[in-house]
């Protein structure tokens, strides 16, 4: 049991740090999304020259924001669910049901992780985005189109983070069943940039 508590504490620390980084990046990406769309409006109406890239760039940023920030909501119990039946159940039964549901969500995420890996190494990921470019060489400066795989990776990163959170929640639920969850650090609920959870 000591090893299980240790592993859960370690995973909680890892998730706390990763998700704090995710929140920081996600906030930055959201600000960039707004800037991209404002640039689109500005160039179309003020400069009179519609830009091609803001639409795709903002979608790129939104997908990454989602992948990086949704796991925080999952860890804090922010995924929408009806918990009324669990609240009416005896505590032990509710804990067992919660464990079962976490096992099912783990199954979903493990499957999504496997599919995501094959998608990222598949043909679809190698297609180029239509308007996004990156410097592929510096001497001399060369530009290449951003592959769609970079966009698709956002979902895979999100699934990976959700998977890590799911494992932590599962371990917490197991420890909760045997009454040892009090030895674990609580999950912070406030939305801050700070790394400490």
């Amino acid at each position: 049991m000591g090893a299980l508590i240790g592993a859960t504490k370690g995973l909680a620390k890892l998730n706390g740090a990763l998700l704090a980084l995710g929140r920081w990046l996600g906030a930055f990406l959201l600000a960039l999304m707004v800037a991209a769309i404002l640039a689109q409006v500005w160039y179309r109406y003020v400069i009179g020259n519609a830009l091609a890239w803001p639409d795709e760039a903002a979608r790129f940023l939104m997908l990454w924001m989602t992948g990086l920030m949704a796991p925080t909501a999952f860890r804090r119990g922010g995924f929408v669910a009806i918990d009324m039946i669990q609240l009416l159940m005896p505590r032990a039964l509710a804990a067992a049901l919660q464990l079962l549901l976490l096992a099912l969500s783990l199954l979903v995420l493990a499957m999504a992780f496997r599919i995501g890996l094959s998608e990222l190494s598949g043909l679809g990921a190698r297609f180029a985005t239509s308007s996004l470019w990156y410097p592929s060489g510096l001497m001399p400066l060369e530009w290449a189109k951003v592959p769609r795989g970079w966009m698709m990776a956002s979902f895979h990163v999100g699934v990976t983070l959700l998977l890590l959170v799911n494992v932590e929640l599962l371990l917490r639920a197991v420890l909760g069943l045997v009454g040892r969850d009090g030895e674990l650090p609580a999950i912070a609920q406030d939305a801050t940039l700070a790394g400490a959870e």
Binding site: R23, G26, A27, F28, L29, L30, A31, M33, V34, I37, L38, Q40, V41, Y45, D55, A58, R59, M62, L63, M65, T66, G67, L68, M69, A70, T72, A73, F74, G78, F79, V80, A81, I82, D83, M84, I85, Q86, L97, Q98, L101, L104, S105, L107, V108, M111, A112, I115, G116, S118, E119, M151, M152, F155, G158, A191, T192, L193
Partner: protein, 429 residues
């Protein structure tokens, strides 16, 4: 076999499985049992492609704009403006509460934001003037549901995206129902003033005071004008209008009102980002769910069942309203729309109900569900803001729900109430 995904999903949902996971697990497991493993990959792609959408971007932007307005102290200006107009009436602060919600709805589109912003300010103020805390909390909760009905509205954007409708048409169709809820609540407050022992405190504001309050509230009040005007004038798409609303909220918060600090921005961005991420994931999963629902012919099967109950659209609309009301008691409006829209929408379309009309019936009914027990999110937030028990808020709000139910039936049986405004702008034939 595949048609079983709906009952499997509902059972898991009732047991407390998060909606996002349920939306992909139920069809996924049945595809797997059916030997259609390759289609599970399509399910994965549908979730991703469902999120990869330009119109959806309006959701994080409107959430961000609402958070910025809230943090920037705009709420206070709206309350002062409402006070100048209605503060002298018997039950003045109750009227101010409702009117502020109607004005706030034009900025944020979220019932929860309304309760947190207005409740924390008006519930203590009402209590100080002699209203019971239970009544103050109930008025705040009852009027907050106007938030997602009057545009801009997060759930309307979700519905429009999932069902392929026009965001502008739904925004316009929500205006009259939202005003009806507000006016209905004010009428009820006026009629029941004796029964509730409501005080009359304030003197009538002079026209000068009203003018000054209007000037102070001018910039916040311009937000819905910019949003709707931009969209309807063909200047912006809804997504661009939402980004403009963010920029506008930052500008007036930082430079005009000076109530927003740069140091507030990271926290505001994080809060909006986290909430939006959950909604975007849900919408992605809903698009996958919708595909499986079509493949399994679920709308057709449900249509056959519903039509076996009656072939009179009026009776069927009544039954659907009862179903939506019950669903709304247990599930938030957004997820409920995501789940039920693709299933129920096509059925009523076939029965000749206008898609915009049906969208508004669903949106208003499920939004009212936010303020109904046992799982109304607004009730929980109101309880937290007011310091009352949820049961007390429920007892307070119960008589006011009559207004909401009456509005639901009015808009159901008088479609012109929703459709006239979008028709005037050419969005509905």
């Amino acid at each position: 076999m595949l048609s079983l995904f709906l009952p499997v999903f509902l059972v898991l949902l009732l047991l407390g499985f998060p909606v996002f996971f349920g939306l992909v697990f139920a069809p996924g497991i049945l595809l797997w049992l059916n030997g259609q493993e390759r289609d599970i990959v399509l399910l994965y792609r549908n979730v991703y492609n469902g999120m990869d959408s330009f119109p959806l971007m309006a959701i994080p932007f409107f959430m961000l704009a609402g958070e910025l307005m809230n943090r920037g102290g705009i709420t206070l200006r709206l309350v002062e403006f409402s006070q100048a107009l209605m503060g002298h009436l018997r039950g003045g602060l109750a009227h101010v509460n409702v009117m502020s919600s109607m004005l706030f709805a034009g900025l944020s589109g979220s019932a929860v934001a309304d309760v947190s912003a207005l409740g924390s300010m008006l519930i203590p103020a009402m209590e100080k003037q002699g209203y019971s805390r239970r009544f103050a909390a109930a008025v705040t909760a009852a009027s907050s549901v106007i938030g997602p009905i009057i545009p801009p509205s997060g759930i309307m954007i979700i519905y429009a995206y999932v069902m392929g409708e026009s965001v502008a048409a739904l925004f316009l169709a929500g205006i009259v129902p939202g005003i009806l809820v507000g006016v209905g609540l004010m009428v009820m407050i006026a009629l029941r003033a004796d029964h509730w022992h409501l005080p009359q405190i304030g003197a009538r504001a002079s026209w000068g005071e009203r003018g000054r309050a209007s000037l102070k509230a001018f910039f916040p009040l311009m937000t819905p004008v910019i949003i709707l005007g931009g969209i309807l004038g063909g200047v912006f798409t809804p997504t661009e209008a939402a980004a403009i609303a963010v920029a506008y909220a930052i500008l007036i918060g930082l430079f005009v009102m000076g109530s927003l600090k740069l140091s507030d921005l990271p926290d505001v961005l994080i809060r909006s980002g986290i909430t939006s991420a959950v909604v975007l994931l849900l919408v992605g999963a809903a698009m996958a769910f919708k595909t499986v629902a079509s493949l399994a012919h679920t709308p057709e099967m449900l249509a056959a069942f519903i039509l076996s109950l009656s072939d009179n659209p009026l009776i069927l609309l009544f039954l659907i309203n009862v179903l939506l009301f019950i669903v709304g008691m247990f599930l938030d409006a957004g997820p409920a729309i995501i789940i039920l829209g693709p299933i129920l929408g096509p059925i009523f379309l076939e029965l000749g109900v206008d898609p915009v009309h049906f969208a508004i019936i669903m949106a208003v009914n499920l939004t009212v569900g936010l303020a109904t027990p046992p799982m109304g999110l607004v009730l929980f937030v109101t309880a937290a803001v007011s310091g009352l028990k949820v049961e007390e808020v429920v007892r307070g709000i119960a008589p006011m729900l009559v207004v909401h139910v009456a509005v639901i039936f009015l808009i159901t049986y008088f479609p012109a109430l929703c459709l006239t405004v979008p028709r005037l702008f050419g969005f509905v034939n």
